[in-house]
Amino acid sequence: MSDELLALTAAEQARRIEAGDVSAAEVFDYWRGRAAADDLGAYLWVADQAPEDAGGFPPIAVKDLFCVRGVPSMAASRILEGYRPPYTATSVENLQNAGIQVLGKTNQDEFAMGSSNENSGFGPVQNPWDRTRVPGGSSGGSAAAVAAGTAPWAIGTDTGGSIRQPASLCGIVGMKPTYGAVSRYGMIAFASSLDQCGPLTRDVTDAAILLNRLQGRDPCDATSLGIEGGVPLPIAERLDGLRFGIWGMEEPGLEPGVAEQVRGTLAKIEELGGSVESIELPNAGHGIAAYYVIAPAEASANLARYDGVRYGPRAPTNGDLTALYEQTRHDGFGEEVRRRIMIGTYALSSGYYEAYYGTAQKVRTRIAQDFAAAFQKVDFVVSPTSATVAFKLGERTQDPLAMYLSDYYTVPMPLAGIPAISIPCGLSEGVPVGFQIAGPAFSEARILDAAHALERSIAFEGVPVG
């Protein structure tokens, strides 16, 4: 039975549990063994035994930044080393209540700041398709675990692309829901006006199952709304009458191999009865500039709480309280986190606030208007998820700006608060290419339906080589 489980989606495993072919505890133990044997660096913690009630679904890998009571939850930062929260994030609790237990905590870029998982305080993650390449980030551990078959499914967070880009680079499905669909309570905060929790899965059906259980209004998060009517299982097999607006194919950084797979997918949309037209998002090109003001600004405020007083390690010092704060933060934060705190505090400082933060907020309005105008003409805006396939470990670490530009296609959606999914659409250089589908706020069900139809037509073989 156990090797059979590896080939099944989470939904199929749940059906086996329901039919009594296998017990939930056996399924949990199988995946616990797989996760414990991970050698990609994808996990920071693995459960040592099945919980008493293993539930009706296979267990889930959870990005480290979700607080889980009594379980290490460090956002992959040394400043939270060993931290075991006294409470559980609402999103994770929703899954547990639905019979989906925590399998382990996955590696990530520290505080979700990064696009390659190389900024983790606990070491990088390797891409299971090619171990010399990055898995993407910041939810790199979650994506690598699902792609390598050390987790049946996973959750992550997306602030500027941190679910969709690693899903793309690892050849799996990743969805960022509408801002407010899922509670942020208990998610260690990076940029609060952008952060959203979402699924990383083998297929679109599993993503819908997870999202339906994650979403919901939460009294502990005043920005949470949930998705009205929930998320039905996607069933569409055709795209008749649906209009797709393709964007960003003329970008100079777009790799020819990626462009070719995306064009092939556009042809499949037409075969399935959909129509494709080019669409302009005139301000999207300034998304990275606006994002790298807004996200660091919010992060600089959110990360002020790490000071070695209430939780996390404290640096030894003979000085006063200020010296304690300074030494703890100096020792605890990695380079990228320091960089962003500096950009953020600079952008928010008196005299520069209007020029940076104020301007970025106006660009954000413009980008939201671009999408609104596009959705007057088309049902979905589509593009490559990433301009390139997975790059080599170390390739972009010396050039932070080049790393930031990795998020070119994924940053505009969170700035506008809208949902988007990445599905694998083929290979280039022997590693996966992702296709992104975005829709208006709270159009998750329609996006999942379209992705489901396309997924069947693409028939991507989701097994990494070797």
């Binding site: 920005t223 500039a289 790298y292 007083v309 209430r310 006063d320 304690l324 952008a347 954000r364 506008a416």
Partner: protein, 70 residues
């Protein structure tokens, strides 16, 4: 790091190519006002649980060095 930060800020400043006259800033993407929850008392964390993760705790709080020695 100074050089890297300058390069990032240079890119950020490309925002100024846009004519943003009269554009309203966006601070929040979802149209929400006064999202209040019912004012029902509920238990908070017991003190010993809240103090459990502190690097240096007393029975009643967090111990820190003197705030203003220097």
């Amino acid at each position: 790091m100074a050089g890297e930060l300058s390069k990032i800020l240079e890119h950020v400043e490309t925002m100024n190519e846009l004519d943003l006259e009269g554009v309203e800033p966006t601070s929040h993407v979802v149209d929400l006002t006064n999202m209040l929850r019912d004012d029902v008392p509920r238990p908070s964390l017991p003190r010993e649980v809240a103090l459990e993760q502190a690097p240096d705790a007393t029975q009643s709080g967090f111990r820190v060095p003197t705030p203003g020695a220097s």
